[in-house]
C-alpha cells in the first residue's frame, strides 16, 4: 500500500525563485488496484512518483510505502518498489540477463533464488532468445521487456510507473499496459502516471488529477463522471484543470 501524506517538493530556480513542483499532495493506493495520476506536462507527476520511489526527498510531508516511511527508511522502501519510466534506461554494455542479475543482486537476492527468478521471468516474458544480447543491440520492444524484468526481479509488492508508454509504438506500449494489468491481478499496489486519457480509462481503478503540483480531483472514473457531469475523461480533465491554467497565466 502507498499512503502519501502532505507530500511537497520545492526547488530553487535562479530565475524563477522558489518553485512548488508538488504542493501538499495526499492520496492512498490500495493493493490490487491501479491508481492513475493524470496531469499535463510539468504538472508534478514525475516529481511525486520520484519521491515515492525515494529518488527525490520531499521538502515537506512524507509517504508510507509497504509500512516504511520514505524519509526515514528510503532503502527499505526501494527494496519493496519496482520503478519503471521511459527515463529508466538500460546499461548498454550489459546483456539483458546481466542487467536483470545486477538489479537482483542489488536487491539482496542470493544466487540460487536469482537464477530461478530470472528463468521464470525470462520464460514468462519470452526473453530467452535475446538474454545474452547486449542491451544496446536490442529493439525497443526487447528493451522494454528487459526493463520490466529488471523491475520484477525482486518481486516487489509496489509498482510505480512514470509515463511508461511515452514515445513508444503501439505494440510496445501494449506490452507495458498488459504488464501493468498483470501486476494488479497479482495483487500488487500500482501507481501509474500519464497524460494519455485513453490509458487511464482502460487501466485505472482510481484517478487523481494533478496540476501545478496540487491534487485537484480524485476518484473512480464513474465518480468523476458523476461529479463533473461529463462522460468523456478529457472533458472532465479540462473542467478540473482549466481554472488553474487561467490562474497560472494571470500570475
Amino acid at each position: 500500500m502507498i499512503e502519501a501524506r502532505g507530500l511537497s517538493k520545492r526547488f530553487q530556480d535562479k530565475k524563477r525563485g522558489e518553485i512548488r513542483a508538488v504542493d501538499n499532495v495526499s492520496f492512498t493506493c490500495q493493493p490490487g488496484k491501479i491508481y492513475g495520476l493524470l496531469g499535463a506536462n510539468g504538472a508534478g507527476k514525475t516529481t511525486t512518483l520520484r519521491m515515492l520511489a525515494t529518488i527525490l526527498e520531499p521538502t515537506d510531508g512524507t509517504a508510507i510505502v509497504c509500512g516504511h516511511d520514505i524519509v526515514e527508511h528510503p532503502e527499505k522502501v526501494r527494496a519493496n518498489v519496482g520503478f519503471l519510466s521511459t527515463a529508466t534506461a538500460l546499461y548498454p554494455r550489459l546483456t539483458a540477463q546481466e542487467m536483470v542479475e545486477y538489479f537482483g543482486r542489488l536487491n539482496g537476492l542470493d544466487e540460487a533464488t536469482l537464477k530461478k527468478r530470472i528463468d521464470d521471468i525470462f520464460n514468462r516474458l519470452d526473453m530467452n532468445a535475446f538474454r545474452d544480447r547486449r542491451c544496446d543491440k536490442l529493439s525497443t520492444g526487447m528493451k522494454q521487456k528487459t526493463s520490466i524484468a529488471r523491475t520484477l526481479v525482486h518481486n516487489p509488492p509496489v509498482m510505480i510507473f512514470d509515463e511508461p508508454t511515452n514515445g513508444l509504438d503501439i505494440m510496445t506500449a501494449r506490452t507495458i499496459t498488459s504488464f501493468i494489468r498483470e501486476c494488479r491481478d497479482l495483487g500488487k499496489t500500482v501507481i501509474f502516471s500519464t497524460h494519455i486519457m485513453s490509458e487511464v480509462e482502460k487501466l485505472c481503478d482510481i484517478i487523481g488529477i494533478i496540476q501545478n503540483g496540487k491534487l485537484l480531483a480524485e476518484g473512480a472514473l464513474a465518480q468523476l463522471r458523476d461529479k463533473y457531469a461529463e462522460h468523456d475523461l478529457e472533458e472532465i480533465f479540462v473542467k478540473v484543470v482549466a481554472p488553474y491554467y487561467i490562474n497560472a497565466g494571470a500570475n
Binding site: 527525490l56 520503478f83 538500460l90 554494455r93 550489459l94 542489488l106
Partner: protein, 404 residues
Amino acid sequence: MSLRNVGIVYRKELTEALRDRRTLISTIIVPLFLFPVLSVGFGALAVSLVGKAKEEIPKVMLRGGGDSPAIVEGLRKLGKIEIVPEAPGWKDQIINKEIRAAVEIPAGFQADVAEQKSDTVKIFNYEGEMKSEFASDKVEKYLKDYSDTVVKARLAAKNLPVDALKPFEFKRENVAPPEKVSGAAIGGLIGYTVILLCMTGAMYPAMDLTAGEKERGTMETILSSPISRMHLVLGKFFLVLTAALGTAALSVLSMGISFSVLSHYTGQTAGGRAAAAGLLLKLGPKTVLSVFLMTLPVAVLFSATLMTIALFAKTYKEAQSYLTPMTFVVIIPAIAAMLPGVELTPKLSLIPILNVSLLCKELVTGTYHWNLIAIIFSSTCVYAAAALFLAVKMFQRESVLFRS
C-alpha cells in the same frame, strides 16, 4: 557499510569498462603503446637520423688562406669535409643549407704562426642546425689538433718537455653507484609519467560512470534500486581507482620494456638511455612498492576529484570540457618536479602532486627521507579523503544528480 553492495557495483562497472572502447584505449592501449612508439619508434628514428648526419661529408667553404698553404692542405686532406671554393653570398648559403659551414683564415696566418703572433681563425655556422654543428665540430677539432702540433713544435724547439704546459692532470670521478646516477636522470620522468597516466587512466571511467550515466538515462534506474548512494559511489570510485592504478602500472612496465628494447638496438649510441633501461629493469621490489604506495593516495585523489567534477556535467561532452583543463593542473606541478635544482623540502611536501613527483625522483635513486615520506603520505591521504568525502556528498545532492 555493506562491502557486498560495493562489490556488486564494482563488478558490474568493471564488466562494462572492459567492454568500453574508450576506457580500454585510455587505460590499456595508450600506456602500453605510448612508450614503445615514443621511445623505441622516435628514439630509433632520432638515433638513425643523427648517425646519418654524422656520416655525411659536409661542404665547408674556405675563405682566405691563399698565403697559408699548410693549414689549407691539412683541411683538404682531412677527408671528413668537402672544401668548396670561396664564393659571394656564403652566409646565405649556410642559412639555406647549401653549405654547412665556412672557415676564414686571416691573411698572413702561416707567417704569423711562424713568428709566434696570435691570429684568430673564424668558423661560421648555423647555430642549432645539427649538420652545420657537426661540420663546425670537425673543423674545430682539426684546428685544435693543428694548434697542439704548433705548440709541441715550439716546445721542442726550446728543448722543453710537452708537459711544461700541463703541470698537473685533473679529472672527475663519480662516486655514486650506477643506479643512483641513472635514477637521477630518469627518476623525475618516472614520477611525471606515473602521475600523468594515473590521471588520464582515471579520466574516461570517471566521466563514463557519472556524466555518461546521466546522459544514457541509467542514473535514475540505479537510483531506484535499494543500494545506498554511498555504496554506489564507492563501487564506482573503486573502478575509477583501478583504472588509474592499472594505467600507471602498465605505463611503468611499458616504459621499462621500451627502454630495454631501445638500448638493445642502439647500444653505445644511447648510453644514457641504456643505463636508464638497465635501472628500470633493476628497480627492486622495495622501490616499486614504495612508488606504488605513494601513488595510491594520489590515484585516490584523482579518482575522487575527477568523479566529483564530472558528476556536475549533464553529458559526456560537457564533462570532457570540465576535465580537460585538469590535465594542466596536474602537468604543471609534475613538470616543475623535473626542473633541475627543485628538491624536496618540508614546505614542498605539502603541495599535492608536486610532492609525490619529487618523492618518486628520490625513491628511484634509493633515497628515503622518512620524515618527508610521512608528511607526503599523510597530507596526500588527507587531500584524497577530502576529495572522496566530497564525491560521496555530491552523489547525495539532488541538484547535482538531476541538474537541468
